[in-house]
């Protein structure tokens, strides 16, 4: 009994988790306009998607934003993690606390606070405001990923490097960076996905000059059932699955 009970339960929950996703994927190939009836196999919604110029533009915008946000947050996040790990400085607790607050606070709070800031400094809402916001909410996740990697790291290595006359910068570049590389990749991928998925923060800090995918999807979904959304959702699913497998593969390989 003690074997099949947990298994049945696990299976049940997984079925519930995956039914909506499977429905979405299946219906993205549905020829019928209706969201409920099966009208034969078709790729027409994928075609409609790629013929929609605004949609394609939003896709590119989103990809570029996610790419740059992930990159910037990985760079800053890695440096933050290194600083927290290696240096003793005043206000370290405050720094830690701020990162924790960003991670824990509801997105909507972050969103309005950033909107207030951007209005105050007169920053035009568009790519730059989106980038600043996305980097900010990705940052703590990168820091945590990298810190986790650093915590299992042999402290004598950097000491040895320093004893051999390496400067702090050189030591970081030649010793620490290679060690935290897998964490950087994982953090980057996490940031990329978070940015690509974000609706709440983007709703507040975006302008019409830079339309991104989640907001486009939001306005489509609010209008009603649209088969194009199924197609788009399926594409996003395949894409993130690919990214996820990639990140797991990199992490696993680095452990060996």
């Amino acid at each position: 009994m003690s074997r099949w009970l947990p298994r049945t339960y696990l299976t049940l929950v997984y079925v519930l988790l995956y039914v909506p996703i499977i429905v979405l994927v299946v219906f993205s190939f549905n020829d019928s306009r209706s969201g409920y009836e099966w009208g034969g196999l078709s790729l027409r919604w994928y075609e409609a998607l790629f013929n929609n110029r605004a949609m394609v533009q939003a896709m590119w915008n989103s990809l570029w934003l996610a790419l740059s946000a992930a990159t910037v947050s990985t760079m800053i996040g890695a440096l933050t993690a290194l600083a927290l790990h290696r240096y003793r400085f005043r206000g370290k607790k405050l720094l830690n606390g701020m990162l924790f607050i960003v991670m824990m606070s509801p997105e909507i709070v972050l969103a309005i606070s950033l909107l207030a800031l951007f209005l105050l400094v007169g920053l035009k809402l568009g790519y730059v405001s989106l980038l600043l916001a996305h980097v900010t909410f990705c940052l703590p996740f990168v820091v945590i990923t990298v810190m986790a990697r650093l915590s299992g790291f042999d402290e004598r290595l950097p000491e040895a490097a320093r004893d051999l006359g390496a400067s702090d910068f050189t030591m970081t570049r030649t010793v620490l960076i290679p060690v935290i590389m897998p964490a950087l990749v994982a953090g980057w991928l996490l940031g990329f996905t978070l940015s690509l998925d974000d609706v709440v923060v983007s709703t507040f800090v975006s302008g019409p000059s830079y339309e991104i995918l989640p907001l486009r999807i939001y306005s489509m979904v609010r209008v009603g059932l649209k088969p194009e959304v199924n197609a788009l959702g399926t594409l996003l699913l395949v894409f993130s699955l690919f990214m996820l497998i990639l990140s797991q593969w990199i992490l696993l390989r680095s452990r060996r």
Partner: protein, 285 residues
Amino acid sequence: MSSVTQQPFRTAVLVLVWGWLLFLVLTPNLLVVGASVMTRDPGSFLSLPLNLDAYRQLMNPLYLDVFLHSLYMAAMTTLICLLIGYPFAWALTKVGKQRQMLLIFLLIVPFWTNSLVRTYALKLLLATNGLLNNALMSLGIIEEPLRMLYTEGAVIVGLVYLLLPFMILPLYAVFDDLREDLLRASHDLGAGRLATFVHVIVPLTLPGVLAGVMLVLLPAMGLFFVPDILGGSRNLLVGNVIKNQFLDARNWPFGAAASIVLTLAMAFLMFAHRLSKRRIGEDGV
């Protein structure tokens, strides 16, 4: 430690990190606090004088009602996540290590998929002409389609669906750490299954429970797109109120005050979490 002047790299790193966090985390949060004590202005966004009107408005029965209803939906979401997630996390630790990795992976996959798209997929299932109703009707379980979409229940289902992994992962972490020898010791000392559960398992997994509650309860009050899509623009969350105040009604002080209440709720939960962790630490486990 060598002095700052000898370490330009260290200085540069610290300046960058501090600069970013002060400018994009601390300042904005202070701005929100500031905005919440200012006065609504129809022409511009905010104006003087400073006062606590926004907070007084929060105490207005109308908004109190919205808050309580939102809190109720978020609490229900959290409770359901916990009821599903607790046995789930425990069951996860009962399967082989290799398979555990795969199952965790499968748990994270939906989380990596666009949350709007997943909410939308739920709409396909819950609609009156939707697949669930069709299936139930063709099985002869129901005669008339159930009206599930645009109800409080639909909002809660949506929130549970989006947030369940956030409950499971911290719970899995604590169950994974749960040492078999402790359970065996409890058993050897004559404790029954129930006693072991109440006196050993529950206290030891409490930090995981609180972490999960924290990760579910707060987002469950803020995810405004869920009521928009599944709640028919009714059954509003605090997130909807905040969004409306900023983007429709243009009452910034009130929106800011509402968001500060959310932040305080977060602080409270974080405090409880720390406390529970410390207690276990002091118990020497």
